[in-house]
Symmetry: D3
Subunit: 62 residues, 6 copies
């Protein structure tokens, strides 16, 4: 029953997202020997102005 929550910067195409969840599910099932239907993945788009590293928002980096 692995459940993924993946936070990533917004802006990826729907095609990339489709490819990503396919690849992650396939690898997870291969390694953990689990059924694909038991793998849930939720993608969470995060805006650059909502993510800071080192105290600086990514929207404010040059």
């Amino acid at each position: 029953m692995p459940t993924f929550r993946i936070e990533l910067f917004e802006g990826r195409s729907q095609e990339k997202k489709r490819e990503l969840v396919e690849a992650l599910t396939k690898e997870t099932c291969r390694v953990l020997e689990c059924d694909p239907g038991s793998v849930d993945i939720i993608l969470i788009d995060v805006k650059r102005e909502h993510w800071a590293t080192g105290g600086v928002l990514w929207s404010e980096r040059s």
Copy 2:
């Protein structure tokens, strides 16, 4: 101090959401014998194109 985070597909009416948080809070307080004011519930709308099961996004199921 139970705190809920509930991910669900977007598209539910505000009336349904209101009814849901009322019912969940009531049941939680009944079972755990806690004060309603200590129950926080955050609803998180998830788009079908951001949720995959079995490696397939829900937006792409027919």
Copy 3:
């Protein structure tokens, strides 16, 4: 596909937890008209020394 993540203070009995997930699932399905099998609930025990309100850890309240 509602997925719950519930943080609560540790110390509840397994019987209370069983009763809680039953009640929450039942109410969710009644309100959202969804299939019970689509409701996942993850309970997360939190120690009082890991939860602060108003800047004070609950383990340090008298």
Copy 4:
């Protein structure tokens, strides 16, 4: 490697958010004696109609 996830009501200005992540990162590094670059903070805007306390959504309080 502290990673923060902060849910707050939507409506704060970008300036306030910038000031907040700066202050939180600074204090975290001071107390934990860690490198600023190791601190990630993700801000999550929550609508008042998606957050309930005591079974009542904040959008419905007068």
Copy 5:
């Protein structure tokens, strides 16, 4: 900056976990064309008595 949070049943070996994070990171970088160093993965072991599907805890299924 993808950050993963993966909830899975406890009981996987450390070797499986190592293999899993390697494979997931590799696939993520291949698809999103990002730097491996930007991928963080946090694994969260969940006990069967803390995860319910359909209102039934996994520890109570026969």
Copy 6:
């Protein structure tokens, strides 16, 4: 109603954790002009063998 969830490596002393939540709450209230009682902070200890960066678990770095 800011609610924090902070994942950090396990091993910090309880004194450090107390100091951290005090400092974070104080700064949050100063910047956002909110009431201390509305700030909840949950600390989540993560083992080095459960956190990977760049595909390598922190427990396996030399």
